[in-house]
């Protein structure tokens, strides 16, 4: 059975989703156990797959048994890079599933099965994207995850959320179309869709690699992915979409969607076009790094201007995407930028999860959506605040946390590559994060309102933006506290663990980079 791991990885959530839809009809209470069980199975599978990758090497899986010639069937692939990502996705999904207990069920219980069904299908899509070894198959799974995320975002009852979801649908569709056009162009020039095969063909035929159509294909794929990941000029959809949707959706989407897109970008750069091809002309990479610099600055500064906690976090995501894209495009000699970028995918997933969970709990239990509502939160919710502080410190980049080490690698790459502007942007962003979060700490720590915040008053104008008009519900219907605190603290612990064991993780990433033949020369 162990050779079936890649298939199990996508099939388990699929069957979970189907089961939830089927059984959830009768009784909404079975939805969560099914979801959690499914995700737990997936987590075990992901860990098993990762273990197998690190012991025996890359897992190649040919769906339908169509192995030879390569490219006629669909190729799934788990290697040292995405094995880690799989585990990260599984962990995030598993944790968020706890946070989503009874979230949706409170107001409109009949939507519970749909929510969990979408939830599981989103996970399915993300797993599928991660293990896809086929350019078109990747597109299909991007569609699965996009469609489900549209649904998850629009599920809230607020008008602004619906509008934001609509914007997201438009942008997401444009992004997917761009990607598809790029893949089409690529297919026309190479005659195959398998990533590995495309790479081989481009390596063997310089005239194809040099052709205009391939460059344009790359451009379109890149822009399509950038839209999906909300890279700087194309980031407009993200803040509204993630801040006005239900908290549990935000907790799932914010840590995963953009990071997966970054992963796809790096995968396309390394496995399809190849590092040497991408960095053939330095003009490209300089431009992208500058864009990343602007993204970081714009994201940070806009975050500074926000009054709502979630929205602020959303703008920070925009900045973080700038980190990762910039890092991937640094093109320094020893690939520390790329390494940092890959490590940051994992670190940022955990950081974002932690912060969004905390923001979700603040919003849910204390109805504190604006930063000014957080007064005295350290006293009102000490445990949640500790989780929030860990996430925030990681975001700032304080040493034992994962955030510090990703920044360390990125800065190292920037220094090696001579991209000082990127280093400066990273530092400014850290600075802004520090200012932002310490402003929050100050409010939360020294607030003089231990018992009564104005968030408790009814009709304070937040209902229409909220995912749930909680003021209508008696407090007894609130979900159990552990449902929020358990995932929050776990994610906080993971941030620390990721930081403490960063050397091992980076080691795995380097293993992957070394396994690519065209990169081995860079790494001795």
């Amino acid at each position: 059975m162990s050779d079936q791991l890649p298939a199990v990885l996508v099939l388990a959530p699929l069957f979970g989703a189907l089961l939830v839809t089927l059984v959830g009809w009768k009784d909404h209470r079975v939805c969560f156990p099914i979801t959690a069980t499914t995700l737990f199975v997936t987590l075990l599978t992901a860990i098993a797959a990762a273990y197998q990758v690190f012991t025996t090497g890359t897992i190649d899986y040919f769906v339908g048994g169509w192995e030879e010639p390569i490219g006629i069937g669909i190729h799934l692939r788990i290697d040292a890079l995405n094995a880690l990502l799989l585990v990260a996705i599984a962990i995030v999904a598993f944790l968020v599933s706890f946070f989503s207990i009874r979230r949706i069920g409170e107001k409109n219980a009949e939507k519970t099965p749909y929510f969990y069904s979408l939830f599981l299908m989103l996970c399915l899509g993300l797993f599928g994207i991660t293990i896809a070894g086929d350019a078109f198959n990747l597109f299909v799974l991007v569609e699965v995850s996009s469609l489900t995320s549209y649904g998850l975002i629009a599920m809230g009852s607020s008008r602004r959320g619906t509008l934001a979801a609509f914007n997201y649908v438009l942008m997401g569709t444009v992004g997917a179309s761009f990607y598809l056009i790029g893949v089409g162009y690529l297919y026309l020039k190479t005659g195959t869709l398998n990533m590995q095969e495309i790479h081989t063909i481009m390596g063997a035929n310089p005239e194809i690699a040099a052709s205009k159509a391939v460059s344009i294909a790359f451009l379109f794929i890149l822009i399509g992915i950038w839209i999906k990941m909300a890279f700087f000029p194309l980031h407009g959809w993200l803040p509204n979409a993630y801040s006005y949707c239900p908290s549990s959706s935000a907790c799932l989407l914010a840590p995963l969607m953009t990071k997966i897109s970054v992963y796809v970008m790096i995968r396309v750069m390394l496995s399809v076009f190849g590092y040497d091809w991408v960095f053939l002309s330095p003009g490209w990479s300089n431009l992208v790094v500058w864009l990343a610099v602007i993204a970081i600055l714009v994201g940070s500064i806009l975050a500074l201007a926000q009054r709502e906690l979630k929205k602020m976090l959303c703008y920070l995501i925009v900045a973080e995407v700038g980190y990762m894209v910039g890092g991937a495009w640094l093109a320094d000699k020893e690939l520390w930028g790329l390494t940092g970028s890959l490590y940051h995918i994992l670190a940022d997933a955990m950081m974002t999860l932690c912060l969004f969970l905390a923001a979700g709990i603040f919003a849910k239990r204390f109805r504190a959506r604006e930063i000014s509502d957080l007064e005295g939160m350290f006293r009102r919710a000490p445990v949640v605040s500790i989780g929030f502080v860990v996430g925030a410190l990681a975001m700032i980049g304080v040493p034992p946390t994962a955030g510090f080490f990703s920044k360390f690698y990125l800065i190292r790459g920037g220094m090696d590559a001579g991209h000082w502007e990127f280093v400066v942007a990273l530092l400014i962003s850290s600075l802004v994060n520090a200012v932002l979060f310490f402003r929050i700490f100050e409010i939360a720590f020294f607030g003089n309102k231990p018992a009564e915040g104005h968030g408790h008053e009814e009709g304070d104008g937040h209902e229409d933006e909220a995912d749930l008009p909680l003021s209508k519900n008696p407090p007894t219907s609130a979900p159990p506290a552990w449902a929020g605190i358990f995932p929050l603290l776990t994610s906080a612990a993971l941030i620390l663990l990721l930081g403490i064991f960063n050397g091992e993780i980076v080691g795995f990433i380097r293993v992957f980079l070394e396994s690519l033949p065209h990169l081995a020369s860079h790494l001795q």
Partner: protein, 503 residues
């Protein structure tokens, strides 16, 4: 020469105050036990430090490795106690006990809120300070440096009113901001240049590197500004802002722990990272010298115009810190020794002055110098101590300040920097100009100082001192200022030893 002793003493010294934190929190209702635990921790800590003293005086170095190697970076977290570290640790831990006593008096006298939080974070700050003092490599140094910034922030913002919050925000933004913006890239750059070696053991980290002039200057400035607790001029304004803190905090942290950690880091950078030879060969130290000199003069001039006593003290501190930086940057034997001595000298003197300011506030509620005329009659001990403290800071006999300043001036002269020597002298005059009038006015008030001046005759009935818990410490430190003038051997020996170690 480097004969090292492996021992866990520094760890225990560092942990002593940290371990007191749970006790302080547990006994938050029983005030007596709470303060007892503070004092116990203080004495235990001092005991550990003193226990290390003989080993250091033998010319040995104590090392401990806490974490073998941080994954990914391959830099251990280690302690390494040398002469400079033990000197600083000695000053900080002994003054902590005094300050605790003073803090008890001050906090009770003013009936402050959240005293438990106050003492708890105080203890954490002390741990961080000792961590910096004993840090064995740049990363450890940086970690404890940041820990100190974070741990002192609740102390600065203790009052929780608008002014305190603003001050706290400035404090944090400046300290964290500069450390993120300058120190981290400088550390990473050093790390890359030195191939992953950040340890202070052995020769200086960058000693063998062929660093160009411009990178060296940039790196030096990045460190100097990055460790902005040292208060060099463009990044000094956190210090006056942080004066909103309760006076014990200002006293210990802004005369001893925090600011001294800043200059301590700069000393470590100059001696441990660049090495004296490299800097001298490149001539990069002069840039730092002149920035420090500028700070000295400017801050003294600003201090002259301040009416709030604590603000005047704050600007004075900025100037005095730059003495130390200047002394180190001169790279000459006497100057470096003077700088190291000045850490102790200034600490003792300035803490006295802050204690006095706090005592005055507790007793009379006065904050401004213009209100303090004639106070000597009312608070004779306090104002006498103030006088002695100001002597120490100015550098007049009989005080330890004279010794350190003498070394500094001598060092400047020996190094051939006559202009910088002149800077020292001018600033001494300025120091005198802004301190001595306070004492003078206190004892011999002029007619129209407070409008309703009464007779100048002294009587014990008019004495309304602060609570004894406030007065005893300040008298003690004032005595210390004078006493060390007569018995400076320990500190002289340590500073000498330090220069031998880094030469």
């Amino acid at each position: 020469m480097e004969n090292t002793v492996s021992s866990f003493l520094p760890v225990w010294a560092c942990l002593a105050s940290l371990l007191a934190v749970p006790l302080i929190v547990i006994f938050r209702k029983e005030i007596f036990l709470r303060e007892l635990s503070t004092f116990t921790a203080g004495f235990v800590k001092l005991g550990f430090v003193i226990a290390m003293l003989p080993i250091i005086l033998e010319g040995k170095v104590i090392t401990t490795t806490l974490v073998p190697a941080i994954s990914g970076i391959n830099v251990p977290i280690e302690f390494r106690v040398d002469a400079l570290g033990i000197l600083f640790a000695l000053v900080a831990s002994s003054l902590w006990i005094v300050t605790s006593l003073y803090g008890v008096g001050y906090m009770r006298g003013l009936k402050e809120h959240s005293q438990t939080r106050f003492f708890a974070f105080f203890a954490v700050s002390l741990s961080a300070t000792l961590g910096v003092a004993f840090a064995g490599n740049l990363l450890t140094l940086y970690l404890f440096y940041e820990m100190l910034s974070l741990a002192t922030w609740p102390l600065v913002t203790h009052h929780q009113d608008k002014e305190a919050r603003t001050g706290g925000r400035t404090y944090l933004v400046f300290l964290l901001g500069t450390s993120i913006a300058f120190a981290i890239p400088a550390i990473i750059y050093t790390y890359l240049q030195a191939d992953g070696d950040l340890s202070f053991a052995g020769p200086a980290i960058l000693a063998g590197n062929d660093l160009g002039y411009l990178p060296a200057v940039c790196l030096l400035l990045a460190f100097a500004f990055g460790f902005s607790k040292a208060g060099l001029m463009p990044f000094h304004s956190w210090l006056p802002g942080a004066m909103v803190a309760p006076t014990p905090v200002s006293a210990l942290l802004h005369a001893v722990a925090v600011v001294k950690v800043g200059v301590f880091c700069v000393i470590r950078v100059v001696t441990g990272i660049f090495g004296i030879d490299l800097l001298r060969d490149l001539g990069a130290n002069l840039v730092l010298c002149w920035i420090a000199a500028f700070t000295v003069i400017t801050s003294s001039l600003i201090a002259l115009s301040q009416d709030s006593l604590k603000r005047r003290l704050a600007f004075s501190t900025i100037g005095q810190l730059s003495y130390i930086v200047l002394g180190v940057a001169l790279l000459h034997e006497f100057a470096v020794e003077g700088a190291v001595l000045h850490i102790a000298a200034h600490a003792v003197g300035k803490i006295t002055l802050f204690f006095c300011a706090g005592a005055i506030f507790v007793a009379t509620g006065k904050k401004y110098i213009s209100q303090m005329a004639g106070l000597g009659k009312q608070m004779p001990f306090t104002m006498a101590a103030f006088f002695l403290g100001s002597l120490g800071v100015i550098g007049l006999p009989p005080s330890i300040g004279l010794i350190s300043k003498f070394h500094l001036v001598l060092g400047a002269a020996e190094a051939g920097q006559i202009a910088l020597m002149v800077v020292f002298l001018i600033s001494t005059i300025l120091n005198a100009a802004y301190f001595l009038p306070i004492s003078y006015q206190a004892f011999f008030p002029s007619k129209d100082a407070e409008g309703d001046l009464v007779d100048t005759k002294f009587s014990w009935d008019a004495v309304r001192e602060a609570p004894p818990a406030c007065v005893i410490p300040l008298v003690f430190t004032a005595c210390l200022t004078v006493g060390l003038f007569f018995a400076p051997n320990l500190f002289l020996e340590l500073s000498n030893l330090f220069f031998e170690q880094v030469k």
